[in-house]
Symmetry: C2
Subunit: 244 residues, 2 copies
């Protein structure tokens, strides 16, 4: 089966060593949900070529679209391009179009290292991004976004305009019973309707008027309403405090 | 080589579908840094047994200690115990000690599903946690923590008292030059001193008085000071705006 949806690889020692709190993973999760592209996994990995290669290769088995964050730049810790190329079995080449962009921008201050930004997996496409000189680097549905949050966000939007999703239909039930009391009912519905995702989230905050939040979702409304009706029917009277 | 450090597997559809923002990953990253246990990777995965099995098995190849978050509970989407058992090649058994805890706590309201909380990979150890009835479930250095943030935090502390780390010595340089201008110097130091971690983080906020933050770290102070001295020497005069 062809993989669908997306997977993300967030690259950076600075995140794993608590110097920076990752904002790009949560932002990507939120935006993909909004546009209706299911997200299969997010992995935070260090700036190490072999770990990134493995992670990108695995992401491609799980998902159609792969987003990487970070490791795009001219310094020794910027290894994403090399790792993505290895994961795809492609060579790294210098893109003439990028050399031109970098040269015209740097003017007299051009260094050999600045030109590393022109390196990309062979066959890479540059997706122009309105309002900035630096295009999005993409190849085989792997989108290599920069780690700096404002750049990540801008480039992500440029990519999302090209992808199409299917928004999810979601219903939520707030229950006045604990998980152990409702597990049998949820089990049965989840088992009978595998295409509907049923989630159960216990809350331990006594100030709330419910004990468990149950989510029911699917891209189609019909099965969701059907599953909600079955859950309601299976629960004791008065168990549902509130529904959304 | 025996793996060292830690790796994390954060389990939960609710996170990947943006219903909940994961707090446990960032909290774990911060606490491990504070106690000086290096973190190799963090993976966010759905409530799917096969994906979790793969992720836990991989985490164990990368790191000595594996922390999982979420999927501990009595409902159909709580599959962590089963997945960890599979990843370790162990059977799932019902722990008499847990059955007793659950039975005495539930009193008359005991359901068959509540007893699922007593299931664990064979050989699992229960780490008592002061102030709460639910112990930490651990086996082969895999610590299965609950997803609810307040419980995750409490259980993590119970585990951390048993592990020992080596705090990292960190120096930071704030530079008034761009990454392309400093890449050659950093490259050389990073190459010559592979045991010292050198990070380079460009800032695109024009209100800052520097353009790049360079971090230099290692468990030993000597090599860090040596690397900082080499970087300073390699940079043009006045490049360092500030140091920490």
């Amino acid at each position: 089966m062809e993989p669908t949806g997306a997977a993300a690889v967030i690259i950076g020692n600075e995140i794993l060593t608590a110097k920076v709190v990752d904002e790009n993973g949560p932002h990507l999760i939120r935006r993909l949900r909004e546009v209706g592209i299911p997200l299969r996994s997010v992995e935070l990995v260090p700036d190490e070529v072999d770990v990134i290669v493995e992670s990108v290769a695995r992401a491609r088995l799980r998902a159609k679209y792969v987003f990487t964050s970070g490791g795009i730049g001219p310094t020794h810790d910027d290894v994403t391009v090399r790792a993505v190329a290895l994961a795809l079995g492609r060579r790294v080449v210098r893109l003439p179009e990028m050399v031109e962009l970098i040269t015209s921008r740097a003017k007299d201050a051009l260094t050999a290292e600045a030109l590393r930004l022109a390196d990309a997996p062979e066959g890479a496409e540059l997706i122009a991004q309105p309002g900035t000189w630096f295009p999005v680097l993409a190849v085989d549905d792997v989108y290599m976004l920069p780690g700096v949050p404002q750049l990540f966000r801008a480039q992500l939007e440029a990519v999302l305009t090209r992808l199409s999703g299917t928004p999810v239909y979601l219903r939520v039930l707030y229950l006045g019973l604990g998980e152990s009391a409702i597990a049998a009912v949820l089990d049965k519905v989840a088992m009978d309707m595998p295409h509907v995702a049923v989630g159960s989230y216990p809350m331990f905050d006594r100030s709330l008027d419910y004990m468990v939040k149950v989510t029911v979702e699917c891209v189609d409304q019909g099965p969701v309403e059907d599953a909600v009706a079955r859950i309601r029917k299976g629960l004791p009277e008065g168990a549902v405090v509130r529904a959304e």
